[in-house]
């Protein structure tokens, strides 16, 4: 084999071998970093307060505790929601809001005097139905599924959002 051919061949061997090595290691690293954890969020129901505790038109902030898997730890995790009962006389109409502002996720407050939700981070304002009145939030307050069972409010969680 002529010297130049041999050189080229060996250079190709080096390129090929190092390509395979980098490819294998890079692929493993990419898969590991981007693959995420296999476990998904499971759907669950959390029992909150009796419906009779709710005053129509007045949102209240409710805490709950649930046992969750946080990566490798099984822990008691606290979460909260805003509950508000509608004014109507007929069937009980409950709305459950995710307590994170839809702008950047800050926790917001109910301003009793003004009758609005206010977020202290960037001045977002929502009405009692969660609609944006002022400020930078891009969409209305997120809602959670709920139902009334035996006179108690039950919220349903599960899927990518998870506990709040």
């Amino acid at each position: 084999m002529a010297i130049d051919d041999r050189r080229t061949f060996l250079q190709r061997v080096i390129l090929g071998a190092s390509g395979l090595v980098s490819g294998a290691l890079g692929g493993v690293a990419a898969g590991y970093l981007l693959g995420g954890a296999r476990r998904g969020e499971r759907a669950r129901r959390i029992s909150l307060i009796p419906v009779s505790d709710l005053v129509p038109g007045q949102p209240i902030h409710v805490d709950y505790r649930e046992l969750v898997l946080d990566a490798w730890r099984t822990v008691w995790h606290s979460g909260s929601v805003w509950l508000v009962r509608g004014d109507g006389d007929g069937d009980v109409d409950i709305t459950v809001f995710d307590p994170r502002c839809t702008h950047m996720g800050c926790p917001y407050q109910w301003d009793v005097g003004g009758g609005v939700f206010k977020c202290a981070c960037h001045g977002g304002v929502f009405d009692v139905d969660g609609q944006v009145i002022a400020g930078p939030p891009p969409r209305p307050l997120d809602r959670l599924e709920c139902r009334v069972v035996d006179g108690r409010v039950l919220i349903e969680m599960g899927g990518p959002q998870g506990a709040s």
Partner: protein
């Protein structure tokens, strides 16, 4: 001025000079496949650094969480098992490759002037690698990790004069606990890799500076691409073997660390077995010789080889005896290691790892706030020391956890809706509590016939020749009571009790369990 333009980079980085010094150099024609060991070591170090970084992203260096974070990586992270397997096997492969590389260098006498520093940096690298191995295998915090570290750090404590303070420094306290794990992790991630990087840099610089030694130094071949091609192929083959081992065998993980486990037989990782076995040969006060003296002396001997070997290398006879001596020493070390593989005492009980995992859950979920074990814990709920004896039904236990009101509508116990393996682990633990004390319905009658003539059993009537056995189970295991019954003098030379020979082995076991369970249930 495009990015692909070679002159662009050469002007800024001086690449041409690097290329001519490093790649275009010539090396002796005798450089062959055995010389690829250095490149193989470098590749394995690269794999260890990469997989190490990936592992730290999902690992928690706290005794309460370390084990579970490793299981999280193994079971729930995509390719987690592979990454951990690569890291585990690359460490072992690296030690083998480094030792082979050292032996190859030694047998070619490549450590003599002017290459003494190359030799020293190499030996120091081997020491750093062994320390990386030692600090690394504590991190999973399983039984093997914990106990091997207890023994290994005890050996450090054997150092004369400074042993005590050294032991405290290494452990961060008197025992192997959170401080030990934390500093082993810190050193494994920062100090040791930095030291290794510096040593690798020095070592490679020196190899390039002095050239590769050879019996025919006047011969030559191109480093690039001839030798680099051999290095690349060797690296690829070793990596292939590594992937095979990682995929086929994975990295081991035993039960979670349990400092109260008396049946475990500690064993260090394979590369420390020769040292471990040395302790058998130097019992008593000579232990420090084996634990510290011999390893230290060996290390110094190997490090200073380029100097004390000079008289030997002046004659062919001297050279042969040096090589023969080294060969013999290597064989002895390997044999020593091989004898250390099997534990010296019987009795490592096979424990279902779900039980210790369940115990960890029991502690972290706060069960002790309301329940006690052996009288230690809360008083809101019942003592659970023998719950596995009272409710040997995993379905019942599962339901009690998931919905306590299904068994008792007024109970204040909250729901514990655990999922999958977490539920089965906790149930396995609870089921094990007292389960090993399960006795037959014959036991009370057998006890009355064989024992009550001399012994009371708490509230049960009996003789007064021997002690009241009512509280015995709180301080003695069923195994102890069993052995005492069959041969009292084996445990107590001054015992007046006669050996009970009229009962079968199974009957004695039954009575022993009954006696111990009675004491525990009575509290």
């Amino acid at each position: 001025m495009t990015l692909g333009n070679r002159e662009f980079w050469d002007e800024r980085l001086g690449l041409q000079a690097i290329r001519s010094q490093l790649l275009d150099r010539r090396v002796p024609a005798t450089v062959g496949w055995a010389h690829t060991l250095g490149a193989v070591c470098l590749t394995l170090i690269l794999v260890l650094v990469l997989t190490g970084i990936l592992l730290t992203i999902n690992y928690s260096p706290d005794p309460g969480h370390a084990y579970h974070s490793i299981r999280y990586i193994e079971r729930e992270i995509v390719l987690g098992r592979l990454v951990r397997g690569l890291h585990h096997w690359a460490a072992s492969f690296l030690i083998v490759a480094a030792v082979l590389h050292l032996l190859h260098t030694f047998f070619h006498l490549a450590f003599v002037r002017p290459r003494e520093l190359t030799w020293i940096t190499g030996v120091l690298m081997l020491l750093v690698i062994l320390t990386l191995g030692f600090t690394g295998y504590l991190l999973p915090w399983d039984e093997k990790a914990y106990w091997a570290t207890v023994v290994g750090t005890n050996m450090v404590g054997q150092t004369p004069v400074i042993g005590e303070p050294l032991l405290h420094l290494v452990r961060g306290g008197a025992e192997v606990g959170a401080a030990a794990l934390s500093r082993f992790y810190g050193v494994h991630l920062t100090l040791l890799p930095l030291a290794l990087a510096v040593l690798v840099g020095l070592h490679v610089y020196l190899v390039v500076r002095h050239g590769i030694s050879s019996k025919k130094p006047e011969s030559s071949q191109r480093f690039w691409p001839n030798v680099v091609a051999m290095d690349a192929v060797a690296a690829l083959l070793v990596l292939g073997l590594l992937f095979y081992f990682a995929l086929r065998f994975g990295a081991p993980l035993e039960a979670p660390a349990d400092p109260t486990n008396t049946s475990y037989a500690p064993r260090p990782d394979w590369y420390f077995l020769p040292l471990f076995q040395l302790l058998v040969m130097f019992p008593g006060s000579a232990e420090a010789v084996a634990a510290v003296g011999l390893p230290f002396a060996t290390g110094v001997l190997i490090l200073t080889l380029p100097w004390w070997s000079r008289p030997f290398l002046r004659s062919p006879a001297g050279r042969s005896s040096l090589l023969a001596g080294a060969g013999l020493a290597s064989v002895v070390v390997v044999l020593l290691g091989v004898t250390g593989v099997a534990p010296m005492a019987e009795g490592a009980l096979v424990v279902d790892p779900a039980v210790p995992r369940g115990r960890v859950l029991f502690e972290t979920l706060g069960c002790r706030n309301c329940h006690s074990l052996r009288g230690l814990g809360g008083i809101v709920g019942p003592d659970l020391t023998l719950v596995g004896l009272e409710h040997p039904d995993t379905v019942w236990l599962r339901d009690q956890l998931r919905d306590p009101r299904s068994h008792g509508p007024d109970t204040p116990m909250p729901n514990f809706p655990l999922e999958g393996e977490r539920m089965s682990d906790l149930v396995a633990f609870l089921w094990s509590l007292g389960n090993d004390l399960r006795y037959s319905s014959d036991a009370p009658r057998l006890y009355t016939q064989s024992c009550s003539a001399c012994h009371r059993l708490g509230s049960q009537e009996g003789g007064i020749f021997g002690p009241d056995l009512g509280q015995l189970g709180k301080i003695r295991s069923a195994a102890y009571v069993h052995q005492y019954t069959e041969s009292p003098s084996s445990l107590n030379p001054e015992a007046l009790m006669p050996a009970i020979t009229s009962l079968t082995h199974e009957q004695v076991e039954d009575i022993a369990r009954y006696v111990v369970a009675t004491a525990l249930q009575g509290n």
